[in-house]
Structure formats: structure tokens, C-alpha cells
Amino acid sequence: MTGTLLEAKAVAKHFGGVKALRDVSLTIRRGEIYGLIGPNGAGKTTFFNCMTGLYVPDGGGFSFDGKPLVADAPDKAAARGIARTFQNIRLFGNMTALENVMVGRHVRTRAGVLGAIFQNPATKAEEAAIRQRAIDLLHYVRIEERADDLAKNLSYGDQRRLEIARALASEPKLLCLDEPAAGMNGTETEQLRELIDGIRRDGTTILLIEHDVKLVMGLCDRVAVLDYGALVIEDVPAVVQKDQRVIEAYLGA
């Protein structure tokens, strides 16, 4: 169970003259909930995008699950076992909730055009398995009653849950959540906390980017703080909370 799952080595990324990431190095261990916090514009999402292949880093690199992660295409990252959600929810709006999760099974299934046209037994069996797994996942995030509603018609909280279910459908080793609690009220945040905790207990490592400091400190095993694209500290919440540089970064003192 223990050991390093993801290691970032001196990852750098700049947009023109703006250094969004300055040699960020950190390690995520198997089975932990790892928090990544920092003020707005600190480079959290940029780091995320570099890792999941949406951006190509200008320097440094990642190793994932013991092998280097050539993050030049998002679908490769997903195939390796990194799934993500988005800060601004990105669901397939005109597909049903169930279909959204079924799409999530794409990288772990293989039926092609000919299989679809001729409906051979292997394709039928795979399709049934995809559907069953998707239904199970909707149960897991507790939105099974919305299975046949279009994703765009779901409530905000349910959309967040659906996005997590879709990410889980790809059987990730590392689940990356980009500000999942943004815009949620107290009750919804508490329910989300339970869900994330449950996912970890079921064996998935989680990287959590979050603004809600209380949620991060209560939930994460270790926390990293980014400020102006650089890593400030990486430690257990109790230490991070008391760190003078973190307080300065957040209060701008």
C-alpha cells in the first residue's frame, strides 16, 4: 500500500513572461489524500493540467506508478490511471447521467465499430458490463435516481457528484479533484467530505485542490502549499497550518 504513486520533479511552466510554475517538486503516496492549496493564481490548476496532459511542462517531469509519465496527451494520462474533475464542471450536458458515466469506461473497454454493428456476444457482454458498472457508480455517489436525466438538468451538487462518478469509471489509481467544494453550502461540503473519504478508503489515492481550508485540513493526510508558482511547504496539516510563510501567503502580510 505504501510507497510513492506520483512524483513531480522540478516541474516548470510559463505562459509568455509569467512563470506559472517554478520548479515544483512533490510526491504523492499511495492511499493518501493529498491537498494542494494556495491563493488564486498560485498555479494549482496549471500544475494539474501539466500532470493530466492538457499542458506540456516547460521543464521537469512526472513519474507515475514507478514509470515516467509522458504527459503529452490527456488520453494517455487517463489510460495510465489518472482521472480528473474540472474546476468549472465539464459534463456531457446533452447525455444522460448514466451515459456520462458509461463514457468514463471508455479507456477500460475496447469494443469497436464492427462489434457495434454486428453485435457479437463479446460486445454485448461488454456493453452490459459497462452499463452495470455505471449504475453501480451512480449508486456509489448516491445520484442513481437521476440516471436517466440529462446531465445539464442535474443540480449543481449532483453535477459535481456525477463528474466524480465519471472519473471513477476509468478505474483511476489517482483521482484528481479540482475544487470540488467550490460553490457548495455547509451540508453539501460535509457530504462531499464523506464521499471523498469513502473513495480513499476503497483504495483510490486522491489529489485535492481546494480553497476551503477547513475541508482540506480536516480531510488531507498531507498538504502542499503553492504561492506564485513555487512550492512553499509540503507537510501534514498540523504543521502547514502553523507555518509562518503559509499564513503570510494567505493573509498577504
Binding site: T52, G53, L54, A73, P74, D75, A78, A79, A83, R84, F86, R90, L91, F92, G93, N94, M95, T96, E99, M102, V103, G104, R105, H106, V107, T109, R110, A111, G112, V113, G115, A116, I117, Q119, T123, E126, E127, I130, I135, D136, H139, E144, E145, A147, D148, D149, L150, N153, R166, A167, S170
Partner: protein
């Protein structure tokens, strides 16, 4: 309950089948021209369903779809006419036509992978025109396409000794050429509907829809958007190629004129007007848009004569005017199309079963 449902759907299918069988004889009462109009309506259903894969499912706006139709049509024309002296059988030509069109789809698709929406539309529009102009000018230095004169005396579809042109007697019933083509086209169209339905509810079909809805999220979930977009282009194109081959055989004549931009736009209009991505809607759109202009063509003149005793407006121009107005009205009052996909009913039975476990 289940029995009555079964009965109703069986009765529905039987009724529809009966209607489809009788239709060409009813149309023949108004003359063989009407049977030909029916043939073209079904050919357009075929084409619109092919384009629906590209536009409706994968969300790639393609304004040059007719180019693939042209590739298929010219493949048939060149391989089964006195032009090169070749007379290959249908099961050789149709696959070649489909494959060549498929190849053309990949050729068009690969440079446009990063384009979306308007930009993609403009590139595909250009591609459509390039193909047409190519066909128009490929008569020198080597005469391949016979240029603007087109290719004549193209072989009709034949299965063994059974020819689809001319009248034959079957069980004492006289079947004209267009009537025979009608049945061939209906059979092909049913095949295409089945392929479309199966693709739509498959892993590949869902991936296409995901790309249409949000390409970045689709990539992040592990969909190789490059390959799947190419696949959509290739699939759509090969349908166009097969339809082109039948068109060529049915007409006995092809020229570059048949593959102008307005044809691409017509097919796209069928898909959009009927209801993008919804197969019954696309079929409705194709049938309406191919029959309506013809009905206007034949209807407008006599009505004017009856009302005013003379021709006030040239039927040809009025036809396009009414047609345009109809399009504008549909887009104003039914922007999602005449028959859009309904929000699917909750499959409550299935969910309850799972909950009970």
C-alpha cells in the same frame, strides 16, 4: 400488458412495411416521375444518415459532404461504363467506392482535426468544391473524368441476370426501373438505419457524443479524440460513397454539376431541420426536403393557372422562395428541428431492480 405492447409494435411494423411496399405503386399513378422522386427521397435519407454520424453524433460541421458522394458516384461511373470499357459487378464496385470515399474522408479529416465549428465548416466547404473542380478538369492531359460532359451509358445495378433498369414482370406484376430501384434503396436505407442505431448506442457512439459535448472533458476521460474524429469522418464518408454509387447506376449519367455546394447544404439542412442526432428526425428531414421542392415544382404552376388563369410567377423561382420561407419558419419556431430527440424517459424499472438488490 407486455402482450399488447408486443402486438402494437408488431402491428406498427407490419403497417409500415405494407406502406413501404405499396408506396411506389401509388406514386406510379402520378407517373414514373413520382417514383423517381421517391427514389431520390430514399437516397437522401441514406445520405442524411451518413452525414448524421459526422454532424449529429460527433458534432463536426461538414459542408463538403457531397464530395464523398461524388467520389462514390464517379467510382461506379468509371468502373462500369464504356468510358474505360470496364464493366465490373456491383459487389466489386460498391466496396471500392465506399473505401475510396472513406479514404477521402480520412484525407479531409486529418488536416482539420484541430478545427471546430465555423472553421471546420469553411475547410470542408473548400474540400467539396475542390473535388467538384477536379472532376470538372480531369479530362486533360489524360481523360479520366470526361470533364464537364460527364460520363454516360453507365451500367445499371445488376444481380446476375436481374437488371434494375427497364420493366420486368415478377409474378405477373410489371415493375418499372425506378420501382425496382425503390426496393433496393429501401433495403439499403433500412440497413443504414440499423447501423446508425447500433452505433449510436455503442462505446464508439458515446465517445463521439462526448466529443461533441465537450472535447476537453472527453480527452481527460481518456478518449483519443484524434482517432475517433477520423473514424467519424471515414464512416460518414463511406456511406456517402455507397449512396453515390447507387446514384450513378440509377441515373446512368454523372457530371460534376450534380455535386455542387447547394447539394451539401441541402443534406446538412435535412439533418438540422429534422433534428440533429435523432435518427427518426433525420429521416423525416430528408424525406420532407427532397419531396417538398418537387411537390412545389409540380403544384405551383397548376394552382396559379386555376386561381388566376395565367402564370404570374415562374414556378421555379417561387419554389425556392417557399422553400426558403419554410426553412426560416422551422428554425424560428422549432430550433431543435422538427423531430428532436426527446428527453429520454426514466428507465425506472431497471433502477428499482438494482436498488432492491
Amino acid at each position: 400488458m407486455k402482450n399488447s405492447q408486443f402486438f402494437r409494435s408488431t402491428a406498427g411494423i407490419t403497417l409500415m412495411a405494407a406502406a413501404l411496399i405499396v408506396l411506389p405503386f401509388v406514386a406510379a399513378l402520378g407517373g414514373q416521375a413520382w417514383v423517381r422522386i421517391l427514389d431520390f427521397a430514399i437516397l437522401y435519407v441514406f445520405l442524411a444518415l451518413g452525414l448524421n454520424i459526422v454532424v449529429g453524433l460527433a458534432g463536426l460541421l461538414d459542408l463538403g459532404y457531397i464530395a464523398f458522394y461524388a467520389v462514390g458516384a464517379y467510382t461506379w461511373a468509371l468502373l462500369a461504363s464504356p468510358h474505360f470499357g470496364l464493366h465490373l459487378p456491383i459487389w466489386v464496385i460498391l466496396p471500392i467506392g465506399g473505401l475510396l470515399a472513406c479514404l477521402a474522408g480520412v484525407v479531409l479529416g486529418s488536416p482539420t482535426l484541430k478545427l471546430r465549428g465555423d472553421y471546420l465548416a469553411i475547410v470542408t466547404l473548400g474540400f467539396g468544391e475542390i473535388v467538384r473542380i477536379f472532376l470538372n478538369n480531369l479530362n486533360a492531359p489524360i481523360n479520366v473524368t470526361n470533364g464537364p460532359q460527364g460520363i454516360t451509358l453507365i451500367d445499371p445495378v445488376t444481380f446476375g441476370d436481374f437488371k434494375f433498369s427497364g420493366t420486368t414482370q415478377i409474378f405477373g406484376i410489371a415493375l418499372s426501373g425506378p420501382q425496382k430501384y425503390y426496393y433496393l434503396l429501401v433495403a439499403l436505407a433500412i440497413l443504414v438505419v440499423i447501423i446508425n442505431l447500433r452505433l449510436q448506442n455503442s462505446r464508439i457512439g458515446r465517445a463521439w457524443q462526448a466529443i461533441r459535448e465537450d472535447e476537453i472533458a472527453a480527452k481527460a476521460i481518456g478518449i483519443n479524440t484524434r482517432n475517433l474524429k477520423l473514424l467519424a469522418f471515414a464512416m460518414g464518408a463511406s456511406f456517402g460513397g455507397v449512396a453515390g454509387g447507387i446514384f450513378s447506376a440509377m441515373q446512368g449519367f454523372v457530371s460534376p454539376e450534380s455535386f455542387s455546394l447547394i447539394e451539401s447544404i441541402m443534406i446538412l439542412a435535412m439533418v438540422v431541420l429534422g433534428g440533429m442526432g435523432h435518427i427518426p428526425g433525420v429521416i423525416l428531414g430528408a424525406v420532407l426536403l427532397s419531396i417538398l421542392p418537387e411537390a412545389l415544382r409540380y403544384g405551383v404552376g397548376p394552382i396559379q393557372m386555376a386561381l388566376f388563369g395565367k402564370m404570374l410567377v415562374d414556378p421555379e423561382s417561387l419554389r425556392m422562395l417557399v422553400f426558403g420561407l419554410a426553412l426560416v419558419l422551422v428554425m424560428r419556431f422549432k430550433p431543435a428541428g422538427l423531430w428532436p430527440a426527446p428527453e429520454r424517459k426514466r428507465e425506472s424499472g431497471e433502477i428499482q431492480q438494482v436498488t432492491a438488490k
